[in-house]
C-alpha cells in the first residue's frame, strides 16, 4: 500500500467534432487530454500549469469523473473510478471535491450561503437536518466568514468572500482531495494572497491533498510541492518545485518562465528578453510528433515523428523532450 492517493494512467479525453444537421458525423477530434499519467501523494499539493488549450481544466474534471474519460484510468486509493457507478460513485465522490475559478458563476445566485453549503450534505445524506445549522456555522468560521452571514445571497458578498463560500461547500462533506481549478485567478492581488493562505492553512489542519490548477506559475510555485506543466494535452515536464522553477529542462517550460515578468526591478532589468515567438497551439490540429515543435527553438527532424514521452532526467524530475535525453 503506497501513499498515492490518486493515480492516473494513460488518461485520454477526446471530444468529437460533429458536422451536419440531420445526420451528424464525426469530422475530427479535440484531444484535450492526450495520454497523461501521474500520481498525487496523500497530503501533497501537485501544481498543474498550462496556458489555454493545454487541457489542465479538462484533466481536473476527468479526475472527478465529471467527464468520463475516453480512455485510461483514474484510481482513487487504488480503486478504479471508471468502473464504479451510482451509489458507489457517489460515495467515492464524497472524498473528492472541487473549487472553481469564477466566484460569480460557481454559486447559485438563488440560494443563500447556508443553502449552498448544505446542498452537498443533503446529497450525501451525511447527517440529520437538525445538524445542518451547526455544521454551516462551523464551516463558515473555518473559512474566515461570519456565521451571521449564512442567510445572505451570493450577490451580497465580495469575490473573495464568494470563493470562501465555495471552499466551505467543498469542505462540507469532509473530503480528502480537492481539485482547485484556478481558485484565485479572478481575484485581486491582496485577496489572492489571503485565499492562498487560507488554502494552505486548511490543508495542514485537515490533512488535505490538492491538485492546484493555474496558469500563473508564481501562484502555483508558492502553493505546490511538485509541479506538472501541460502543453496541448500532454504533461511535458514534471518535478519538484525546485526542479521546475530553477532547473527547467523543457523548452516550453523555459519559455513560460522567461515570459513571466517578476515584480522585481533589479531582476527584470538584468533579464534577457524571451526570444522565440510562441503561438497559441490548436488542440484541433496538433502537429505530428511533438506538439511544441512549431514553436520550439531546438526542434529538428527527429521531433517530427513521434511525440516524446516523459523520461527521467534526474531523480523525481521527468521531461518529455527528445532534445533533453
Amino acid at each position: 500500500m503506497n501513499d498515492h492517493l490518486i493515480e492516473v494512467r494513460n488518461l485520454k479525453m477526446y471530444f468529437p467534432i460533429l458536422s451536419g444537421v440531420l445526420l451528424p458525423r464525426k469530422v475530427g477530434e479535440i484531444k484535450a487530454v492526450d495520454d497523461v499519467s501521474f500520481f498525487i501523494r496523500r497530503g501533497e499539493t501537485l501544481g498543474l500549469v498550462g496556458e489555454s488549450g493545454s487541457g489542465k481544466s479538462t484533466l481536473g474534471l476527468c479526475l472527478l469523473q465529471l467527464y468520463r474519460p475516453t480512455a485510461g484510468e483514474v484510481l482513487y486509493q487504488g480503486r478504479n473510478l471508471g468502473q464504479i457507478r451510482g451509489g458507489d460513485l457517489r460515495r467515492a465522490r464524497r472524498k473528492m471535491q472541487m473549487i472553481f475559478q469564477d466566484p460569480y458563476g460557481s454559486l447559485n445566485p438563488r440560494m443563500t450561503a447556508a443553502g449552498i453549503i448544505t446542498e452537498p450534505l443533503q446529497i450525501h445524506r451525511l447527517m440529520p437536518r437538525r445538524a445542518y445549522r451547526k455544521r454551516v456555522e462551523e464551516l463558515l468560521t473555518l473559512v474566515g466568514l461570519s456565521p451571521g452571514q449564512a442567510n445572505r445571497y451570493p450577490h451580497e458578498f465580495s469575490a473573495g468572500e464568494r470563493q470562501r463560500i465555495g471552499m466551505a461547500r467543498a469542505l462540507a462533506v469532509d473530503p480528502e482531495f480537492i481539485v482547485c481549478d484556478e481558485p484565485v485567478s479572478a481575484l485581486d492581488v491582496c485577496v489572492q494572497a489571503q485565499i492562498l493562505q487560507l488554502l494552505a492553512d486548511l490543508q495542514s489542519r485537515l490533512n488535505l491533498t490538492y491538485l492546484f490548477i493555474a496558469h500563473d506559475l508564481a501562484v502555483v510555485g508558492s502553493m505546490s510541492n511538485r509541479i506538472a506543466v501541460m502543453y496541448l494535452g500532454r504533461i511535458i515536464e514534471l518535478g519538484s518545485r525546485e526542479h521546475v522553477l530553477r532547473r527547467a529542462v523543457h523548452p516550453y517550460t523555459r519559455a513560460l518562465l522567461a515570459a513571466i515578468p517578476v515584480p522585481d526591478r533589479a531582476i527584470e532589468k538584468a533579464r534577457k528578453r524571451a526570444g522565440h515567438p510562441v503561438d497559441v497551439p490548436s488542440a484541433l490540429r496538433s502537429p505530428t510528433g511533438c506538439g511544441f515543435r512549431p514553436n520550439c527553438p531546438e526542434a529538428d527532424a527527429s521531433c517530427r515523428n513521434t511525440a516524446p514521452t516523459l523520461e527521467m532526467v534526474e531523480p523525481e524530475h521527468w521531461v518529455a523532450c527528445w532534445k533533453a535525453q
Partner: protein, 265 residues
C-alpha cells in the same frame, strides 16, 4: 529630461446613480513626458480605467467628469469642443483596450479597420492607406499583410487581434498611447510578446505609453514611472526604480508584499 506633453490636474469623475454618487476618480494629478512609459497600477475598482477614459472624454453614462484639467500640449482637453476632441482621439491620443474582440468590428476586414484612422485623420487615399496598413501589420508582427488585409477578426487568435488593435492605435503616430490592461485576456507567453512589441514600438516612435495594469511584474519590466491608485486617488507617484526599491506609501508596500514571487534563482 524629456518634455511634458500631458498634465492631469485634480481630475474628478463621478458616477451619479440612484444609490448615490460614486467618486470613481477623486482628484488625481500626474504628468506624462514625451516617450515615457508610465504605469497606472491598482486593484479592481480603484478608478484607473475610468481615469483613462476621462483623459479622452469617453466616460460612459452615468459617469461625468466633474472637474480638473487635462492639459495636452498646453490645451485643456476637458474644455475643447467635441469636434476638436474627435480630431485628437485616434490621431494624437490613441487607446488599446483589454478585449480585442469587442474593440474590432466583426463585420469589417482588418485591413479596412486599420485604414479607417488613416483615411479619417490623415486623409490618405485608398492606395496610400493600403501601403501604410501593410507596413503597420509588419511592424506589429503580422507578416503576409498583403494576404491578411482582407481577413476578418474571427480569423485571428486573441494575441493576433490585439496586434491588429495596436496597429490601428499606432497608425497615425500618436504622441500618447493609453493601453488599458492590453494583455490580461491573453496567455502569458503571448502577453510577453505583445508587450515587448508594443513597448518596443513606443520607444521607436517616441510615443508616450500609459500602461494600466494590476500586474506588478509587467510594471517592473516595462514602466519608467508608476502611479499607484486606490479608491479614486493616486497614493504614490514616482519613478519605477524608486517605488520598487523603497515604496513609501503603506498601500504600495502592502500591494507589493501580496504579489506571489517566482523564485527562479
Amino acid at each position: 529630461m524629456p518634455a511634458t506633453i500631458l498634465e492631469v490636474r485634480d481630475l474628478r469623475t463621478y458616477f451619479h446613480t440612484d444609490e448615490g454618487i460614486t467618486k470613481a476618480v477623486d482628484g488625481i494629478s500626474y504628468d506624462v513626458r514625451e516617450g515615457e512609459t508610465s504605469a497606472l497600477v491598482g486593484e479592481s475598482g480603484c478608478g484607473k480605467s475610468v481615469s483613462a477614459l476621462s483623459l479622452v472624454r469617453l466616460v460612459p453614462y452615468p459617469g461625468r467628469i466633474m472637474g480638473g484639467q487635462v492639459l495636452f500640449n498646453g490645451e485643456d482637453l476637458l474644455q475643447v469642443p467635441e469636434a476638436k476632441m474627435r480630431k485628437i482621439r485616434g490621431k494624437h491620443i490613441a487607446m488599446v483596450f483589454q478585449e480585442p474582440m469587442t474593440s474590432l468590428n466583426p463585420v469589417m476586414n482588418i485591413g479596412e479597420q486599420i485604414a479607417e484612422p488613416l483615411k479619417a485623420h490623415l486623409k490618405m487615399d485608398e492606395k496610400a492607406a493600403r501601403r501604410r496598413v501593410i507596413e503597420l501589420l509588419n511592424l506589429v508582427g503580422i507578416p503576409d499583410g498583403d494576404r491578411r488585409y482582407r481577413d476578418y477578426p474571427h480569423q485571428f487568435s486573441g494575441g493576433m487581434r490585439q496586434r491588429v488593435v495596436i496597429a490601428m492605435a499606432l497608425s497615425c503616430n500618436p504622441s500618447i498611447l493609453i493601453a488599458d490592461e492590453p494583455t490580461t485576456a491573453l496567455d502569458v507567453t503571448i502577453q510577453a510578446q505583445i508587450l515587448d512589441m508594443m513597448t518596443g514600438l513606443a520607444r521607436q516612435f517616441n510615443t508616450a505609453l500609459i500602461l494600466i495594469t494590476h500586474n506588478f511584474g509587467i510594471v517592473a519590466r516595462y514602466a519608467d514611472r508608476i502611479n499607484v491608485m486606490r479608491a479614486g486617488k493616486i497614493v504614490e507617484s514616482d519613478s519605477a526604480d524608486s517605488i520598487f526599491a523603497e515604496p513609501q506609501h503603506p498601500y504600495t508596500q502592502a500591494l507589493l508584499k501580496c504579489v506571489p514571487r517566482l523564485e527562479t534563482g
